[in-house]
Symmetry: C2
Subunit: 340 residues, 2 copies
């Protein structure tokens, strides 16, 4: 028998909970210091108290405390383009070396030439086709190692920092606060499941089994040396966006979340599914309205709609009507990044 209480708590609940088990952090200290006071912060604290107090009519048993978070635009920056697409672009030269016919396609020509304006004009269909060509064909362990290596050295164009520095500090605090209260935190992303898994534990404290994302089919076959490998195929098994989000949640968890956080039209169904459950359910959605500290985009602010992180006016209206909490980055977040 080798069961270590501390190690176990740290594993499943993250550092904050281990701390809380070991000595109980003072209840007076603010668990969300990067959040400004206001309706959004109040809603979070009220929800957590109501669902974790055994005397509350809205108490939720530990096993059912599931919180789901979109990633791009919800946990980290998604502009000017999803990080996974930057990774896919970085792999284009070596893929074209093996498949020279791709260089004749417009999308690959734009990427290879480094023409930023042309790249920005690629359609979502073209981007996904580049993802399919560059991020499949290898075994899952090789892929994880390649993502890890790339993300360790790549830099974003605006802050010139590792992409993993561009996670939102208020959300890291929220993840920790939920976990300290017995919630299991899941990522539910339209991005590739295995891409996010390569860094989710280190960056968010979220282990691989709690990452739901777009899934590629896998084949199980011998590699060059005869060793059996799980190979990433180009077929998309689950497009974990829009209605694919409740679908992915059911397939991987089999429980309806009590808490969901998103930032775009791709998160609508996850929020609807969460809110349609009985008892206390909190849905939250971020408004990117801080062009100075982050980005400002989407028609909710009267700005032109964006290919990345679409937030149509109808979604805003639905949020108001259905009681989702809209979070203004500008007003609700005291600090956006840890490096500020």
């Amino acid at each position: 028998m080798d069961l270590r209480r501390r190690e176990f708590a740290a594993l499943v609940l993250g550092g904050a909970a281990a701390l809380s088990l070991a000595g109980r952090a003072g209840a007076e200290s603010d668990p969300l210091p990067s959040w400004n006071g206001g309706p959004a912060k109040d809603a979070i604290v009220k929800f957590v108290r109501a669902t974790t107090d055994a005397a509350s009519p809205e108490f939720v048993p530990l096993a059912e405390r599931i919180a789901t978070f979109d990633q791009d635009g919800t946990l980290w920056v998604e502009q000017p383009i999803y990080t996974q697409i930057v990774f896919a672009f970085s792999r284009v030269p070596e893929v074209v070396k093996e498949r020279p016919e791709l260089a004749r396609e417009e999308a690959y020509r734009a990427i290879l030439s480094g023409d930023r304006a042309a790249m920005a004009n690629l359609s979502m269909g073209e981007l996904l086709s580049v993802v399919g060509a560059t991020l499949t064909g290898m075994d899952v362990e090789t892929y994880r190692d390649e993502v890890e290596a790339w993300i360790g050295q790549a830099r974003d164009p605006r802050w010139k920092r590792p992409f993993t520095d561009l996670v939102y500090q208020p959300q890291i605090e929220l993840l920790n606060y939920l976990r300290a209260n017995g919630y299991r935190t899941f990522i539910v992303t339209g991005g590739g499941q295995d891409f996010v898994r390569a860094y989710s534990e280190r960056v968010y404290g979220i282990p691989p089994e709690q990452v739901i994302g777009t899934m590629f089919g896998l084949s199980f076959k011998p590699g060059a040396d005869g060793k059996l490998l799980l190979i990433r195929e180009t077929e998309v098994l689950l497009n974990d966006d829009e209605a694919g989000k409740p679908e992915g949640i059911h397939l991987v968890i089999g429980r309806r979340p009590h808490f969901a956080f998103g930032n775009s039209g791709g998160d609508r169904e996850m929020l609807e599914y969460t809110k349609a459950g009985a008892g206390a359910r909190l849905g939250m959605i971020i408004l990117h309205d801080d062009g100075a500290r982050e980005y400002s985009y989407g028609p909710a602010q009267g700005l032109p709609d964006s290919k990345i992180g679409t937030f149509p006016r109808a979604l805003y209206d639905q949020a108001m009507k259905d009681g989702w909490i809209v979070v203004s980055m500008k007003n609700d977040w005291k600090r956006i990044f840890a490096f500020e």
Copy 2:
């Protein structure tokens, strides 16, 4: 803050671990009393000790302690036919009422007539088509309720007991023993994921998020009353058998198991995947060689091959060659069922 240590341990590790956390069960008491002494039991105990002793070169960190179990024929009886198929058959009359054209098909005629010989002769393709027609079209919560209600009252033909009584007592002890040592136990079944989830927690102590099975596609749309529902579609998203098992394991867990237990050709790839990992990996496979207490089938015993639980000679040879532990029900299990 409302974190209860005991409740938490009971949730994630099951009752045995909570007990062990609370007071430490005596290390002298045998955790596997329904197993006879011998190479199989020795292999289990040796594996658990080696992977949980921090001083051992084969130590496995808590997060990586993943054990996967096939269900049919590994955790409970699969003869004369999978329980899920019995459930599907029970639904045929009401489905035919709604779709009378099905009554013209040979498979449905056999089922409706109650002709056991004809039913036994249905091909696996016919059986799966009946499953597709009878176990889809409703929302996931309705389906769970219907499985629960049926399995609460149905009886198996031989022992005249609830199917959930036909779980193997030695395996319940093994699941508890692994969990008490920090292993998370998963079911990885060719059966329907949501079928097994309806009773897995009550019967095996395995929560829904630790059940991987054959997955049907889901749509998210309004029901008759306008409420949004997750509807089970007929499209099979993942056939969680053979190579589908390592695939399902990767999609849901994203970690390679250290321990895997199966009983048929459908488990071969799961065992291969498990054993191909670095460090300590234990693969086990059950031989159904006890016709008196359970069933005896499969060519490994020189018996004709069976549609259910195929165990070809080549699989036995592979087990010997690759060091999988073959468990003889007759010799290794002192007691098979709790009701004995």
